[in-house]
Protein backbone atom coordinates (compact mmCIF):
# COMPACT_ATOMS: atom_id res chain seq x y z
CA UNK A 1 0.00 0.00 0.00
CA UNK A 2 1.38 3.38 -1.00
CA UNK A 3 2.21 5.61 1.96
CA UNK A 4 0.73 9.08 1.72
CA UNK A 5 3.05 11.99 1.16
CA UNK A 6 2.03 13.64 4.43
CA UNK A 7 2.84 10.47 6.35
CA UNK A 8 6.29 10.28 4.80
CA UNK A 9 7.02 13.90 5.65
CA UNK A 10 5.73 13.30 9.19
CA UNK A 11 8.16 10.41 9.60
CA UNK A 12 11.01 12.41 8.12
CA UNK A 13 10.25 15.25 10.48
CA UNK A 14 10.21 13.06 13.60
CA UNK A 15 13.49 11.39 12.66
CA UNK A 16 15.11 14.76 11.97
CA UNK A 17 13.76 16.15 15.24
CA UNK A 18 15.09 13.22 17.23
CA UNK A 19 18.49 13.41 15.55
CA UNK A 20 18.84 17.14 16.12
CA UNK A 21 17.55 16.82 19.70
CA UNK A 22 20.05 14.08 20.50
CA UNK A 23 23.00 15.67 18.71
CA UNK A 24 22.33 18.69 20.86
CA UNK A 25 22.33 16.45 23.95
CA UNK A 26 25.71 15.03 22.93
CA UNK A 27 27.11 18.54 22.81
CA UNK A 28 25.48 19.53 26.10
CA UNK A 29 26.91 16.45 27.82
CA UNK A 30 30.41 17.75 27.11
CA UNK A 31 29.74 20.51 29.64
CA UNK A 32 30.42 18.86 32.95
CA UNK A 33 27.58 19.25 35.42
CA UNK A 34 25.01 20.50 32.95
CA UNK A 35 23.13 17.24 32.41
CA UNK A 36 22.79 14.91 35.41
CA UNK A 37 23.18 11.15 35.17
CA UNK A 38 23.48 8.92 32.15
CA UNK A 39 22.76 9.83 28.54
CA UNK A 40 21.44 7.08 26.31
CA UNK A 41 20.81 7.98 22.65
CA UNK A 42 19.28 6.22 19.67
CA UNK A 43 21.38 7.66 16.82
CA UNK A 44 20.79 5.52 13.73
CA UNK A 45 17.74 3.80 15.22
CA UNK A 46 15.26 6.62 14.67
CA UNK A 47 13.31 4.74 12.01
CA UNK A 48 11.91 2.34 14.59
CA UNK A 49 10.06 4.79 16.81
CA UNK A 50 9.26 7.13 13.94
CA UNK A 51 7.83 4.35 11.81
CA UNK A 52 5.88 2.66 14.59
CA UNK A 53 4.41 5.83 16.09
CA UNK A 54 3.38 7.07 12.63
CA UNK A 55 1.11 4.02 12.49
CA UNK A 56 -0.58 4.83 15.80
CA UNK A 57 -3.60 6.87 16.81
CA UNK A 58 -3.35 9.37 19.66
CA UNK A 59 -5.30 7.03 21.96
CA UNK A 60 -2.79 4.20 21.45
CA UNK A 61 -0.38 3.80 24.36
CA UNK A 62 3.38 3.35 24.20
CA UNK A 63 5.63 1.93 26.91
CA UNK A 64 9.25 2.78 26.30
CA UNK A 65 12.65 2.03 27.77
CA UNK A 66 15.94 3.70 28.61
CA UNK A 67 16.40 4.72 24.95
CA UNK A 68 13.15 6.65 24.73
CA UNK A 69 13.65 10.11 23.24
CA UNK A 70 12.60 9.16 19.72
CA UNK A 71 9.54 7.24 20.89
CA UNK A 72 8.28 10.07 23.06
CA UNK A 73 9.02 12.96 20.72
CA UNK A 74 7.36 11.09 17.87
CA UNK A 75 4.31 10.34 20.01
CA UNK A 76 3.98 14.07 20.46
CA UNK A 77 5.75 14.95 23.70
CA UNK A 78 6.69 18.61 24.09
CA UNK A 79 10.43 18.93 23.38
CA UNK A 80 10.67 21.78 25.88
CA UNK A 81 9.28 19.70 28.75
CA UNK A 82 11.49 16.76 27.77
CA UNK A 83 14.62 18.90 27.55
CA UNK A 84 13.87 20.59 30.87
CA UNK A 85 13.38 17.16 32.46
CA UNK A 86 16.71 15.99 31.06
CA UNK A 87 18.28 19.05 32.67
CA UNK A 88 16.57 18.16 35.97
CA UNK A 89 14.59 21.38 36.02
CA UNK A 90 11.27 21.96 37.77
CA UNK A 91 9.53 22.66 34.46
CA UNK A 92 10.46 19.21 33.19
CA UNK A 93 7.65 16.87 32.32
CA UNK A 94 8.30 15.00 35.57
CA UNK A 95 9.48 17.89 37.74
CA UNK A 96 13.05 16.62 37.77
CA UNK A 97 12.19 13.25 39.31
CA UNK A 98 12.87 11.22 36.20
CA UNK A 99 15.67 12.83 34.20
CA UNK A 100 16.42 11.45 30.77
CA UNK A 101 15.88 7.80 31.56
CA UNK A 102 12.35 7.34 32.90
CA UNK A 103 10.38 10.02 31.09
CA UNK A 104 6.62 9.76 31.63
CA UNK A 105 4.34 11.76 29.36
CA UNK A 106 0.80 10.58 30.10
CA UNK A 107 -0.72 13.45 28.09
CA UNK A 108 0.47 11.68 24.91
CA UNK A 109 -0.39 8.24 26.29
CA UNK A 110 3.13 7.39 27.35
CA UNK A 111 2.25 6.95 31.04
CA UNK A 112 5.54 5.46 32.15
CA UNK A 113 8.97 4.51 30.89
CA UNK A 114 11.12 1.94 32.63
CA UNK A 115 14.86 1.44 32.55
CA UNK A 116 14.69 -2.02 34.02
CA UNK A 117 15.48 -4.14 30.97
CA UNK A 118 12.35 -6.09 30.09
CA UNK A 119 10.33 -4.18 32.68
CA UNK A 120 8.04 -2.60 30.13
CA UNK A 121 6.61 -5.84 28.81
CA UNK A 122 4.48 -6.92 31.78
CA UNK A 123 3.23 -3.35 32.17
CA UNK A 124 2.26 -3.25 28.50
CA UNK A 125 0.28 -6.43 29.13
CA UNK A 126 -1.63 -4.59 31.84
CA UNK A 127 -2.28 -1.54 29.67
CA UNK A 128 -3.50 -3.72 26.82
CA UNK A 129 -5.67 -5.69 29.23
CA UNK A 130 -7.26 -2.41 30.26
CA UNK A 131 -7.92 -1.53 26.60
CA UNK A 132 -9.52 -4.90 26.05
CA UNK A 133 -11.50 -4.73 29.32
CA UNK A 134 -12.86 -1.29 28.43
CA UNK A 135 -13.47 -2.35 24.81
CA UNK A 136 -11.38 0.53 23.51
CA UNK A 137 -10.34 0.73 19.87
CA UNK A 138 -6.73 1.20 20.84
CA UNK A 139 -3.52 -0.79 21.13
CA UNK A 140 -0.42 -0.78 23.29
CA UNK A 141 3.07 -0.70 21.83
CA UNK A 142 5.98 -1.90 23.92
CA UNK A 143 9.47 -0.92 22.77
CA UNK A 144 12.39 -2.97 24.03
CA UNK A 145 15.85 -4.05 22.92
CA UNK A 146 17.38 -7.38 22.00
CA UNK A 147 18.73 -7.74 25.53
CA UNK A 148 15.22 -7.62 26.98
CA UNK A 149 14.30 -10.73 25.01
CA UNK A 150 16.58 -12.66 27.38
CA UNK A 151 14.61 -11.58 30.45
CA UNK A 152 12.00 -13.84 32.00
CA UNK A 153 9.51 -10.98 31.84
CA UNK A 154 9.64 -11.11 28.02
CA UNK A 155 8.51 -14.71 28.01
CA UNK A 156 5.83 -14.33 30.69
CA UNK A 157 4.44 -11.30 28.88
CA UNK A 158 4.33 -12.79 25.40
CA UNK A 159 2.69 -15.90 26.77
CA UNK A 160 -0.02 -14.01 28.65
CA UNK A 161 -0.62 -11.49 25.85
CA UNK A 162 -1.11 -14.34 23.42
CA UNK A 163 -3.28 -16.38 25.80
CA UNK A 164 -5.67 -13.48 26.29
CA UNK A 165 -5.40 -12.12 22.70
CA UNK A 166 -4.40 -8.73 24.04
CA UNK A 167 -4.05 -5.76 21.67
CA UNK A 168 -0.26 -5.37 21.89
CA UNK A 169 2.46 -4.74 19.40
CA UNK A 170 5.77 -5.90 20.84
CA UNK A 171 8.51 -3.95 19.06
CA UNK A 172 11.99 -5.35 19.53
CA UNK A 173 14.53 -2.77 18.52
CA UNK A 174 17.39 -5.16 17.83
CA UNK A 175 20.40 -2.84 17.68
CA UNK A 176 22.83 -5.79 17.80
CA UNK A 177 24.19 -4.88 21.23
CA UNK A 178 22.98 -5.49 24.77
CA UNK A 179 25.41 -3.45 26.81
CA UNK A 180 28.81 -4.60 25.61
CA UNK A 181 27.53 -7.94 24.34
CA UNK A 182 27.11 -8.41 20.65
CA UNK A 183 23.89 -10.18 19.68
CA UNK A 184 25.60 -13.55 19.03
CA UNK A 185 27.15 -13.40 22.48
CA UNK A 186 23.84 -13.27 24.32
CA UNK A 187 21.64 -15.72 22.43
CA UNK A 188 21.91 -18.55 19.95
CA UNK A 189 18.52 -17.75 18.48
CA UNK A 190 19.19 -16.23 15.07
CA UNK A 191 16.16 -13.96 15.02
CA UNK A 192 14.24 -12.73 18.05
CA UNK A 193 11.15 -12.83 15.86
CA UNK A 194 11.48 -16.63 15.95
CA UNK A 195 10.51 -16.53 19.62
CA UNK A 196 7.02 -15.39 18.60
CA UNK A 197 6.21 -18.89 17.38
CA UNK A 198 6.78 -20.21 20.91
CA UNK A 199 3.78 -18.11 21.94
CA UNK A 200 1.61 -18.68 18.87
CA UNK A 201 1.81 -15.14 17.57
CA UNK A 202 3.21 -13.73 14.33
CA UNK A 203 6.86 -12.74 14.41
CA UNK A 204 7.86 -10.23 11.74
CA UNK A 205 11.38 -9.28 10.77
CA UNK A 206 11.76 -5.77 9.43
CA UNK A 207 14.67 -3.70 8.18
CA UNK A 208 14.75 -1.34 11.13
CA UNK A 209 16.53 1.33 9.13
CA UNK A 210 13.72 1.46 6.58
CA UNK A 211 11.12 3.66 8.20
CA UNK A 212 8.47 2.84 5.59
CA UNK A 213 8.89 -0.88 6.19
CA UNK A 214 8.64 -0.34 9.94
CA UNK A 215 5.52 1.76 9.43
CA UNK A 216 3.88 -0.93 7.30
CA UNK A 217 4.67 -3.68 9.77
CA UNK A 218 3.34 -1.64 12.67
CA UNK A 219 0.19 -0.73 10.75
CA UNK A 220 -0.53 -4.37 9.98
CA UNK A 221 0.14 -5.44 13.57
CA UNK A 222 -2.05 -2.65 14.89
CA UNK A 223 -4.93 -3.66 12.63
CA UNK A 224 -4.58 -7.23 13.75
CA UNK A 225 -4.63 -6.21 17.41
CA UNK A 226 -7.60 -3.86 16.97
CA UNK A 227 -9.51 -6.64 15.23
CA UNK A 228 -9.11 -8.75 18.35
CA UNK A 229 -6.61 -11.15 16.84
CA UNK A 230 -3.96 -10.57 19.48
CA UNK A 231 -0.37 -9.49 19.68
CA UNK A 232 2.45 -9.41 17.15
CA UNK A 233 6.18 -9.42 17.74
CA UNK A 234 8.05 -7.17 15.31
CA UNK A 235 11.81 -7.39 15.27
CA UNK A 236 13.39 -4.29 13.77
CA UNK A 237 16.97 -5.02 12.72
CA UNK A 238 19.00 -1.91 13.32
CA UNK A 239 22.26 -0.82 14.85
CA UNK A 240 23.46 1.10 17.87
CA UNK A 241 25.76 3.64 16.24
CA UNK A 242 26.75 5.20 19.57
CA UNK A 243 27.66 3.48 22.82
CA UNK A 244 25.17 2.11 25.30
CA UNK A 245 25.45 5.58 26.81
CA UNK A 246 27.56 8.61 26.05
CA UNK A 247 30.29 7.53 28.48
CA UNK A 248 30.77 4.26 26.59
CA UNK A 249 33.81 4.44 24.28
CA UNK A 250 32.58 1.49 22.18
CA UNK A 251 35.94 -0.31 22.38
CA UNK A 252 34.13 -3.58 21.70
CA UNK A 253 32.35 -2.39 18.53
CA UNK A 254 34.43 -2.78 15.33
CA UNK A 255 35.00 0.60 13.71
CA UNK A 256 34.23 -0.71 10.23
CA UNK A 257 30.97 -2.17 11.53
CA UNK A 258 29.93 1.22 12.89
CA UNK A 259 30.95 2.91 9.64
CA UNK A 260 29.02 0.40 7.54
CA UNK A 261 25.85 0.98 9.53
CA UNK A 262 26.28 4.75 9.44
CA UNK A 263 26.05 4.37 5.68
CA UNK A 264 22.62 2.79 6.22
CA UNK A 265 21.35 5.76 8.20
CA UNK A 266 17.54 5.83 7.94
CA UNK A 267 17.26 9.59 7.56
CA UNK A 268 18.93 10.16 4.16
CA UNK A 269 17.31 6.94 3.05
CA UNK A 270 13.90 8.53 3.42
CA UNK A 271 14.86 12.10 2.54
CA UNK A 272 16.54 10.94 -0.69
CA UNK A 273 13.40 9.05 -1.59
CA UNK A 274 10.93 11.84 -0.93
CA UNK A 275 13.27 14.23 -2.75
CA UNK A 276 13.59 11.92 -5.77
CA UNK A 277 9.83 11.45 -5.86
CA UNK A 278 9.38 15.20 -5.82
CA UNK A 279 7.41 15.07 -2.58
CA UNK A 280 9.61 17.74 -1.09
CA UNK A 281 11.76 20.44 -2.66
CA UNK A 282 15.25 21.38 -1.55
CA UNK A 283 13.86 24.60 -0.15
CA UNK A 284 11.13 22.79 1.78
CA UNK A 285 13.66 20.36 3.22
CA UNK A 286 15.88 23.26 4.33
CA UNK A 287 12.88 24.98 5.82
CA UNK A 288 11.93 21.79 7.70
CA UNK A 289 15.45 21.44 9.07
CA UNK A 290 15.49 25.10 10.08
CA UNK A 291 12.13 24.75 11.83
CA UNK A 292 13.37 21.70 13.73
CA UNK A 293 16.56 23.53 14.64
CA UNK A 294 14.48 26.32 16.09
CA UNK A 295 12.33 23.85 18.08
CA UNK A 296 15.39 22.27 19.65
CA UNK A 297 17.02 25.64 20.29
CA UNK A 298 13.88 26.81 22.03
CA UNK A 299 13.82 23.61 24.10
CA UNK A 300 17.37 24.28 25.25
CA UNK A 301 16.60 27.91 26.02
CA UNK A 302 13.55 26.87 28.03
CA UNK A 303 15.53 24.28 29.97
CA UNK A 304 18.46 26.62 30.59
CA UNK A 305 16.25 29.42 31.87
CA UNK A 306 14.02 27.21 34.02
CA UNK A 307 14.69 26.95 37.75
CA UNK A 308 15.79 23.81 39.52
CA UNK A 309 13.23 22.30 41.89
CA UNK A 310 13.58 23.22 45.55
CA UNK A 311 15.45 20.44 47.41
CA UNK A 312 12.50 19.63 49.64
CA UNK A 313 10.33 18.97 46.58
CA UNK A 314 12.14 15.63 46.59
CA UNK A 315 9.63 14.63 49.26
CA UNK A 316 6.62 15.17 46.98
CA UNK A 317 4.90 12.74 44.61
CA UNK A 318 5.68 9.48 46.45
CA UNK A 319 2.02 8.97 47.32
CA UNK A 320 -1.18 10.50 45.94
Amino acid sequence: MEVAKEKKIEMLRSMLLTRRFEETLTELCKNEGKIPGMMILCTGQEAVGSGVCAALSPEDVIISNHRSHNHLLTKGADPRAIMAEIYGKSTGCNKGKSGTLHLAVPEVNAPCTTTVVGGGLPIAVGVAFSQQYKKEKAVTVCFFGDGAADEGSFHESLNLASLWSLPIVFVCENNLYAGAQRYEEHTRVKDIADRASAYAMPGEIVDGNDVLAVYEAARTARERAIAGNGPTLIECKTYRCRGHGESDHQLYQPKDEIAAWQEKCPIPRLSDEVFALGLITAEELSALEAEIGAVVQEAVRFAEESPYPKPEEALEDVFV
Binding site: G96, C112, G119, P122, V125, V127, S157, N159
Partner: protein, 325 residues
Protein backbone atom coordinates in the same frame (compact mmCIF):
# COMPACT_ATOMS: atom_id res chain seq x y z
CA UNK B 1 -23.52 -10.52 63.59
CA UNK B 2 -22.16 -12.77 60.85
CA UNK B 3 -19.19 -14.93 61.82
CA UNK B 4 -16.57 -15.04 59.10
CA UNK B 5 -13.01 -16.21 58.73
CA UNK B 6 -10.60 -13.69 57.27
CA UNK B 7 -10.77 -15.34 53.86
CA UNK B 8 -14.56 -14.97 53.84
CA UNK B 9 -14.24 -11.36 54.98
CA UNK B 10 -11.81 -10.69 52.13
CA UNK B 11 -14.26 -12.39 49.79
CA UNK B 12 -17.05 -10.13 50.99
CA UNK B 13 -14.89 -7.04 50.52
CA UNK B 14 -14.01 -8.11 46.98
CA UNK B 15 -17.67 -8.78 46.18
CA UNK B 16 -18.81 -5.43 47.51
CA UNK B 17 -16.12 -3.50 45.66
CA UNK B 18 -16.58 -5.42 42.40
CA UNK B 19 -20.31 -4.77 42.60
CA UNK B 20 -19.80 -1.09 43.37
CA UNK B 21 -17.07 -0.37 40.81
CA UNK B 22 -16.80 -1.91 37.34
CA UNK B 23 -13.11 -0.97 37.23
CA UNK B 24 -12.25 -3.52 39.92
CA UNK B 25 -11.08 -6.91 38.69
CA UNK B 26 -9.07 -9.70 40.25
CA UNK B 27 -6.28 -11.80 38.77
CA UNK B 28 -3.84 -14.43 39.93
CA UNK B 29 -3.06 -18.11 40.05
CA UNK B 30 -6.21 -20.04 40.93
CA UNK B 31 -8.39 -17.03 41.80
CA UNK B 32 -11.09 -18.49 39.59
CA UNK B 33 -10.68 -22.24 39.46
CA UNK B 34 -8.50 -23.42 42.32
CA UNK B 35 -6.92 -26.68 43.43
CA UNK B 36 -8.37 -25.74 46.83
CA UNK B 37 -12.17 -25.71 46.83
CA UNK B 38 -12.55 -24.61 50.44
CA UNK B 39 -15.34 -22.00 50.82
CA UNK B 40 -13.31 -20.29 53.54
CA UNK B 41 -10.77 -19.11 50.94
CA UNK B 42 -10.79 -15.50 49.76
CA UNK B 43 -11.72 -15.90 46.10
CA UNK B 44 -14.25 -18.72 46.49
CA UNK B 45 -17.14 -18.50 43.99
CA UNK B 46 -16.13 -15.11 42.59
CA UNK B 47 -15.71 -16.62 39.12
CA UNK B 48 -19.24 -17.98 39.28
CA UNK B 49 -20.67 -14.64 40.32
CA UNK B 50 -18.58 -12.16 38.33
CA UNK B 51 -17.50 -14.14 35.26
CA UNK B 52 -14.28 -14.64 33.35
CA UNK B 53 -13.99 -11.02 32.24
CA UNK B 54 -13.38 -9.86 35.81
CA UNK B 55 -11.96 -12.93 37.53
CA UNK B 56 -8.78 -13.72 35.66
CA UNK B 57 -6.98 -16.97 36.24
CA UNK B 58 -3.43 -16.42 35.07
CA UNK B 59 -0.59 -18.72 34.13
CA UNK B 60 2.09 -19.30 36.76
CA UNK B 61 3.76 -15.99 35.90
CA UNK B 62 4.23 -13.76 38.93
CA UNK B 63 6.06 -11.01 37.04
CA UNK B 64 3.27 -10.85 34.49
CA UNK B 65 0.60 -10.88 37.23
CA UNK B 66 2.18 -7.93 39.02
CA UNK B 67 2.90 -6.15 35.73
CA UNK B 68 -0.71 -6.69 34.72
CA UNK B 69 -1.69 -4.78 37.84
CA UNK B 70 0.76 -1.94 37.17
CA UNK B 71 -0.31 -1.47 33.56
CA UNK B 72 -4.02 -1.86 34.23
CA UNK B 73 -3.85 0.57 37.15
CA UNK B 74 -2.14 3.30 35.16
CA UNK B 75 -4.80 2.85 32.47
CA UNK B 76 -7.76 3.50 34.73
CA UNK B 77 -8.67 0.11 36.19
CA UNK B 78 -8.44 -0.95 39.84
CA UNK B 79 -6.72 -4.32 39.84
CA UNK B 80 -6.57 -6.61 42.84
CA UNK B 81 -3.99 -9.27 42.08
CA UNK B 82 -2.97 -12.20 44.23
CA UNK B 83 0.49 -13.55 44.90
CA UNK B 84 -0.29 -17.04 46.10
CA UNK B 85 2.34 -17.25 48.85
CA UNK B 86 4.62 -14.62 50.29
CA UNK B 87 7.89 -16.28 49.17
CA UNK B 88 6.73 -15.96 45.55
CA UNK B 89 6.81 -12.21 46.09
CA UNK B 90 10.43 -12.41 44.95
CA UNK B 91 9.23 -13.40 41.47
CA UNK B 92 6.87 -10.44 41.32
CA UNK B 93 9.11 -8.03 43.18
CA UNK B 94 10.58 -6.15 40.21
CA UNK B 95 7.10 -5.09 39.17
CA UNK B 96 6.11 -4.16 42.72
CA UNK B 97 9.34 -2.62 44.01
CA UNK B 98 10.75 -0.98 40.87
CA UNK B 99 7.53 -0.18 39.11
CA UNK B 100 4.37 -0.01 41.23
CA UNK B 101 6.25 1.82 43.97
CA UNK B 102 8.37 4.15 41.84
CA UNK B 103 6.59 5.01 38.61
CA UNK B 104 4.34 7.63 40.15
CA UNK B 105 7.35 9.38 41.66
CA UNK B 106 9.24 9.12 38.37
CA UNK B 107 6.29 10.73 36.60
CA UNK B 108 6.41 13.71 38.94
CA UNK B 109 3.00 12.78 40.26
CA UNK B 110 1.30 12.62 36.86
CA UNK B 111 0.59 8.89 36.67
CA UNK B 112 -1.23 6.99 39.38
CA UNK B 113 -1.20 3.30 40.22
CA UNK B 114 -4.30 2.36 42.23
CA UNK B 115 -3.61 -1.33 42.68
CA UNK B 116 -3.75 -3.92 45.42
CA UNK B 117 -1.38 -6.86 45.66
CA UNK B 118 -2.87 -9.46 48.00
CA UNK B 119 -0.28 -11.81 49.43
CA UNK B 120 -1.04 -14.93 51.45
CA UNK B 121 1.41 -15.61 54.24
CA UNK B 122 2.08 -17.30 57.53
CA UNK B 123 3.71 -20.33 59.11
CA UNK B 124 1.67 -23.13 60.66
CA UNK B 125 0.75 -25.29 57.67
CA UNK B 126 3.88 -27.41 57.57
CA UNK B 127 4.40 -26.17 54.05
CA UNK B 128 8.00 -25.12 54.63
CA UNK B 129 10.03 -22.03 54.05
CA UNK B 130 9.37 -21.65 50.31
CA UNK B 131 5.67 -21.29 51.04
CA UNK B 132 5.92 -19.53 54.41
CA UNK B 133 8.12 -16.48 54.87
CA UNK B 134 6.85 -13.19 56.23
CA UNK B 135 8.44 -10.46 54.16
CA UNK B 136 6.48 -7.41 55.32
CA UNK B 137 9.64 -5.59 56.38
CA UNK B 138 10.98 -5.84 52.82
CA UNK B 139 7.98 -4.09 51.32
CA UNK B 140 7.78 -1.59 54.17
CA UNK B 141 11.33 -0.59 53.22
CA UNK B 142 10.22 0.48 49.72
CA UNK B 143 8.91 4.04 49.53
CA UNK B 144 5.77 4.23 47.43
CA UNK B 145 4.04 1.15 48.79
CA UNK B 146 1.42 1.08 51.50
CA UNK B 147 1.61 -2.07 53.58
CA UNK B 148 -1.47 -3.46 55.32
CA UNK B 149 -1.52 -6.57 57.49
CA UNK B 150 -4.88 -7.12 59.12
CA UNK B 151 -5.31 -9.12 62.30
CA UNK B 152 -9.07 -9.71 62.39
CA UNK B 153 -11.65 -10.59 59.73
CA UNK B 154 -13.58 -7.39 60.45
CA UNK B 155 -10.50 -5.25 59.91
CA UNK B 156 -9.57 -7.25 56.81
CA UNK B 157 -12.91 -6.42 55.21
CA UNK B 158 -12.77 -2.71 55.95
CA UNK B 159 -9.08 -2.37 55.15
CA UNK B 160 -9.28 -4.23 51.85
CA UNK B 161 -12.17 -2.04 50.74
CA UNK B 162 -10.13 1.03 51.69
CA UNK B 163 -7.11 -0.39 49.86
CA UNK B 164 -9.12 -0.91 46.68
CA UNK B 165 -10.33 2.69 46.84
CA UNK B 166 -6.86 4.03 47.61
CA UNK B 167 -5.08 5.68 44.67
CA UNK B 168 -1.72 4.24 45.74
CA UNK B 169 -0.26 0.74 45.42
CA UNK B 170 -1.18 -1.27 48.50
CA UNK B 171 0.44 -4.53 49.53
CA UNK B 172 -2.18 -6.39 51.53
CA UNK B 173 -0.80 -9.35 53.45
CA UNK B 174 -3.19 -12.00 54.82
CA UNK B 175 -2.13 -14.68 57.29
CA UNK B 176 -3.77 -17.88 56.10
CA UNK B 177 -4.21 -19.27 59.62
CA UNK B 178 -6.74 -16.50 60.17
CA UNK B 179 -8.84 -17.78 57.26
CA UNK B 180 -10.10 -20.56 59.47
CA UNK B 181 -10.90 -18.66 62.68
CA UNK B 182 -14.43 -17.16 62.39
CA UNK B 183 -15.05 -13.91 64.19
CA UNK B 184 -17.82 -11.29 64.06
CA UNK B 185 -17.81 -9.16 60.90
CA UNK B 186 -20.35 -6.39 60.32
CA UNK B 187 -22.49 -7.23 57.31
CA UNK B 188 -22.96 -3.61 56.32
CA UNK B 189 -20.75 -1.42 54.20
CA UNK B 190 -17.81 0.15 56.06
CA UNK B 191 -14.24 1.25 55.45
CA UNK B 192 -11.39 0.88 57.91
CA UNK B 193 -8.82 3.64 57.40
CA UNK B 194 -5.34 2.68 56.22
CA UNK B 195 -2.64 4.08 58.48
CA UNK B 196 -4.57 3.83 61.75
CA UNK B 197 -3.52 1.40 64.44
CA UNK B 198 -6.07 0.21 66.97
CA UNK B 199 -5.68 -0.39 70.66
CA UNK B 200 -7.26 -3.83 70.90
CA UNK B 201 -6.85 -4.02 74.69
CA UNK B 202 -6.28 -1.25 77.19
CA UNK B 203 -3.60 -1.61 79.88
CA UNK B 204 -1.35 0.46 82.11
CA UNK B 205 1.82 -1.59 82.61
CA UNK B 206 3.29 -2.47 79.23
CA UNK B 207 2.58 -1.80 75.54
CA UNK B 208 2.61 -4.79 73.22
CA UNK B 209 2.80 -3.70 69.60
CA UNK B 210 1.88 -6.41 67.12
CA UNK B 211 0.02 -7.16 63.89
CA UNK B 212 -1.53 -9.94 61.86
CA UNK B 213 -1.82 -13.42 63.38
CA UNK B 214 0.28 -12.43 66.40
CA UNK B 215 -2.58 -10.27 67.70
CA UNK B 216 -4.24 -13.46 68.93
CA UNK B 217 -1.07 -14.47 70.74
CA UNK B 218 -0.81 -11.01 72.30
CA UNK B 219 -4.40 -11.01 73.53
CA UNK B 220 -4.08 -14.50 75.05
CA UNK B 221 -0.85 -13.52 76.76
CA UNK B 222 -2.44 -10.32 78.03
CA UNK B 223 -5.30 -12.32 79.55
CA UNK B 224 -2.77 -14.54 81.30
CA UNK B 225 -0.74 -11.58 82.53
CA UNK B 226 -3.89 -9.94 83.88
CA UNK B 227 -4.39 -12.89 86.20
CA UNK B 228 -1.02 -12.01 87.69
CA UNK B 229 -1.94 -8.34 87.99
CA UNK B 230 -0.01 -7.13 84.92
CA UNK B 231 -2.17 -5.09 82.54
CA UNK B 232 -0.82 -5.13 79.00
CA UNK B 233 -2.03 -2.67 76.39
CA UNK B 234 -2.17 -4.34 72.98
CA UNK B 235 -1.67 -2.09 69.96
CA UNK B 236 -2.58 -3.71 66.65
CA UNK B 237 -0.74 -1.80 63.93
CA UNK B 238 -2.98 -3.09 61.10
CA UNK B 239 -0.94 -0.92 58.73
CA UNK B 240 2.86 -0.83 58.64
CA UNK B 241 3.06 1.93 56.00
CA UNK B 242 1.99 4.61 56.69
CA UNK B 243 2.83 3.86 60.31
CA UNK B 244 0.54 5.24 63.00
CA UNK B 245 3.35 6.71 65.06
CA UNK B 246 1.04 8.64 67.37
CA UNK B 247 -0.84 5.61 68.65
CA UNK B 248 2.40 3.75 69.40
CA UNK B 249 4.05 6.70 71.10
CA UNK B 250 1.06 7.71 73.18
CA UNK B 251 0.61 4.15 74.41
CA UNK B 252 4.27 3.86 75.42
CA UNK B 253 4.10 7.27 77.11
CA UNK B 254 1.26 5.85 79.18
CA UNK B 255 2.77 2.46 80.05
CA UNK B 256 6.50 3.24 79.96
CA UNK B 257 7.32 -0.20 78.57
CA UNK B 258 7.38 -1.74 75.10
CA UNK B 259 7.40 -5.25 73.70
CA UNK B 260 7.06 -5.78 69.94
CA UNK B 261 5.77 -9.10 68.71
CA UNK B 262 5.85 -10.43 65.16
CA UNK B 263 6.07 -13.78 63.42
CA UNK B 264 8.70 -12.64 60.90
CA UNK B 265 12.35 -13.29 61.63
CA UNK B 266 14.21 -10.99 63.95
CA UNK B 267 17.12 -9.37 62.08
CA UNK B 268 15.85 -6.51 59.99
CA UNK B 269 12.30 -7.22 61.13
CA UNK B 270 9.81 -4.40 61.45
CA UNK B 271 10.05 -4.55 65.26
CA UNK B 272 13.39 -2.77 64.89
CA UNK B 273 11.58 0.16 63.27
CA UNK B 274 8.98 0.33 66.03
CA UNK B 275 11.65 0.19 68.75
CA UNK B 276 13.73 2.85 67.02
CA UNK B 277 10.69 5.10 66.73
CA UNK B 278 9.92 4.77 70.43
CA UNK B 279 13.56 5.31 71.38
CA UNK B 280 13.69 8.47 69.29
CA UNK B 281 10.35 9.90 70.29
CA UNK B 282 9.58 8.59 73.78
CA UNK B 283 12.91 7.65 75.33
CA UNK B 284 12.26 9.64 78.47
CA UNK B 285 9.02 7.74 79.03
CA UNK B 286 10.70 4.33 78.99
CA UNK B 287 11.04 2.76 82.43
CA UNK B 288 12.83 -0.31 81.06
CA UNK B 289 14.56 -1.48 77.86
CA UNK B 290 12.26 -2.63 75.09
CA UNK B 291 11.95 -6.29 74.19
CA UNK B 292 11.27 -8.03 70.90
CA UNK B 293 9.53 -11.37 70.50
CA UNK B 294 9.95 -12.65 66.96
CA UNK B 295 10.58 -15.69 64.87
CA UNK B 296 14.21 -16.82 65.17
CA UNK B 297 16.61 -16.07 62.28
CA UNK B 298 15.94 -19.33 60.48
CA UNK B 299 13.82 -20.36 57.48
CA UNK B 300 10.44 -21.76 58.56
CA UNK B 301 10.95 -25.51 59.12
CA UNK B 302 8.45 -28.27 58.29
CA UNK B 303 8.41 -30.83 61.10
CA UNK B 304 5.62 -29.93 63.61
CA UNK B 305 7.85 -29.47 66.67
CA UNK B 306 10.32 -27.44 64.61
CA UNK B 307 7.62 -25.24 63.11
CA UNK B 308 6.03 -24.71 66.55
CA UNK B 309 9.47 -23.68 67.79
CA UNK B 310 9.61 -21.09 65.02
CA UNK B 311 6.27 -19.41 65.65
CA UNK B 312 6.29 -17.02 68.64
CA UNK B 313 3.79 -17.99 71.35
CA UNK B 314 2.15 -16.65 74.51
CA UNK B 315 4.79 -18.07 76.83
CA UNK B 316 7.56 -16.22 75.04
CA UNK B 317 5.61 -13.00 75.16
CA UNK B 318 4.74 -13.39 78.83
CA UNK B 319 8.37 -14.08 79.65
CA UNK B 320 9.48 -10.99 77.71
CA UNK B 321 6.92 -8.82 79.52
CA UNK B 322 7.99 -10.14 82.90
CA UNK B 323 11.60 -9.29 82.13
CA UNK B 324 10.77 -5.61 82.01
CA UNK B 325 7.74 -5.16 84.27
Amino acid sequence: MQQLGMGQAVNQALREEMTRDERVFIAGEGVGVSIHDNPMLPTADLLKDFGVARVKDTPVSEAAIAGLAVGAAVSGLRPVVEIMFNPFFTLASDMIVNHAAKLRYLSGGKSTFPLVVRIKTGAGFGAGCQHAHNLEAWVAHCPGLKVVMPSTPADAKGLLKAAIRDDNPVVFIEDMMLYFVPEPVPAEEYLTPIGKAEVKRQGRDVTVVTWSKMLGVALKAAAGLAQEGIEAEVVDLRTLVPLDRETIISSVRKTGRLVVLHEATRTGGFSGEVCALVTEEAFSSLKAPFRRVTGPDIPVPVSPPLERFYIPDEEQLIAAVKEIV
